[in-house]
């Protein structure tokens, strides 16, 4: 059924594994104060996948959560995408192909992975919208699942207190909810070594370089998207920025000119590309009708876009 609506985020499902690592206990090993963890890092706990839980398994659970919120015919799916840099096995075949099999989706549903981290969800919104428009498709599932527990060294002060595991899935289709609008994206490859997996297969991070990159790149990107969208800061109902840390969010909020509304991932950590949809799923799209989302990280890269809901009154989910 052809819709006059543009593509948007119709619904979001999520899964956070129940296991947690206690950051306040871990911080003592690094001579970090409790105050530093609470007020600067912001993550009191980080979520951990089960020992045998693969990236695709996290996606399956997020999918189950999505289906508990909205029903749709699997045969109507044109595309599934998984945003991950920590795929199943060795990454070949791609995790989305494995997931497509686990979900028993039809062969008409194409599947591919996107290798991005914290900028990945927003960048993938552009990729998914573009794919659907180019192919005449109408429905896609955008999964994010990037379990950093596979690569984080718990002895590393720079990363052990930050990253948690989670998966989300966004139903992308013609809708009046959070329609995908203007974008601003960029990559500064000269900083690619600031966040990398090294020869020991562990993640390493130059925190200062990453902080500088975010502080210098993100505010300008957010302002460009506002300009492209024809909105002033006061007209934006909510800024949803990738919560790399509480200190980073406060720094960016101060530079952009808004007051952060809490710090949602306190209980589960920085979940990479899942971080933004983890926040979005708890926001009413008909209350926060105009939002700016921005993800930034590995690459180093950033991706910002505007999402706008057409109507102030909640409408029924389209069931196709």
């Amino acid at each position: 059924m052809k819709s006059s609506h543009t593509f948007g985020v119709a619904e979001i499902g999520a899964y956070v594994p129940p296991a947690r690592r206690d950051n306040l206990a871990l911080a003592t090993k690094f001579s970090c104060s409790e105050e530093f963890v609470r007020s600067k890092i912001g993550f009191l706990r980080t979520a951990l996948r089960g020992e045998h839980e693969e990236t695709s398994d996290l996606c399956v659970k997020a999918f189950a959560n999505l289906k508990s919120k909205v029903d749709f015919d699997h045969a109507s799916l044109d595309l599934i995408v998984v945003v991950t840099q920590n795929p199943d096995g060795h990454g070949l075949p791609h995790t989305s192909a494995i997931l497509q099999h686990k979900l028993e989706l039809p062969s008409s549903c194409f599947a591919f992975d996107i290798s991005l981290a914290c900028s990945g969800y927003v960048a993938a919104l552009a990729a998914v919208k573009g794919f659907l428009m180019a192919t005449g498709g109408s429905k896609a599932l955008l999964f994010t699942a990037d379990p950093y527990s596979k690569i984080v060294n718990v002895e590393d002060r720079d990363t052990a207190l930050i990253f948690g595991d989670a998966a989300t899935v966004s139903l992308i289709q013609p809708t009046d909810r959070w329609q995908i609008g203007a974008f601003d994206l960029g990559t500064e490859g000269r900083w690619h070594s600031s966040l990398r997996v090294n020869g020991s297969a562990y993640l390493t991070m130059n925190g200062r370089e990453v902080f500088n990159f975010c502080a210098l790149s993100v505010p300008g990107s957010v302002k460009r998207v506002m300009q492209l969208s024809g909105v002033h800061r006061e007209q934006v109902d909510r800024f949803v920025l990738h919560p790399g840390s509480k200190y980073l969010i406060e720094t960016l909020a101060n530079r952009i000119g808004f007051k952060p509304s809490g710090f949602e991932p306190e209980d589960y950590g920085n979940t990479g590309p899942s971080s933004i949809p983890m926040i979005l799923k708890d926001i009413d799209p008909y209350v926060a009708r105009t939002i700016i989302v921005s993800g930034f990280g590995v690459g180093l890269s950033w991706a910002t876009c505007a999402l706008r809901s057409e109507h102030a009154v909640r409408s029924e989910h389209a069931v196709n």
């Binding site: 530093f36 600067k40 130059n206 925190g207 200062r208 902080f211 500088n212 210098l216």
Partner: protein, 80 residues
């Protein structure tokens, strides 16, 4: 070359919850109660305000008002 006053003003802007005007010149930021993220913000402010960039090794040494003054007097704003 920066003045002490300029450095204090820069620190006050970068780390608002610290009384930058009461900091001992020779005390490290850590001794003054600041942490690594405060230090990073100060270094970023130096970069944005005065075009100064630092390698990780030099950044670790620029950890007091005295060190900032010493570095800027020798570098004259040149990239490190």
């Amino acid at each position: 070359m920066l003045s002490i006053e300029q450095v204090r003003t820069l620190i006050a802007g970068a780390v608002p919850n610290v009384n930058a005007y009461a900091l001992p010149v020779d005390a490290t930021f850590e001794e003054s109660g600041m942490d690594s993220l405060d230090h990073a913000s100060i270094l970023l402010a130096l970069q944005e305000s005065y075009g100064l960039e630092f390698s990780d090794a030099v950044a670790a040494e620029i950890n007091s008002i005295e060190a900032i003054l010493g570095h800027t007097s020798t570098q004259s704003g040149a990239k490190d």
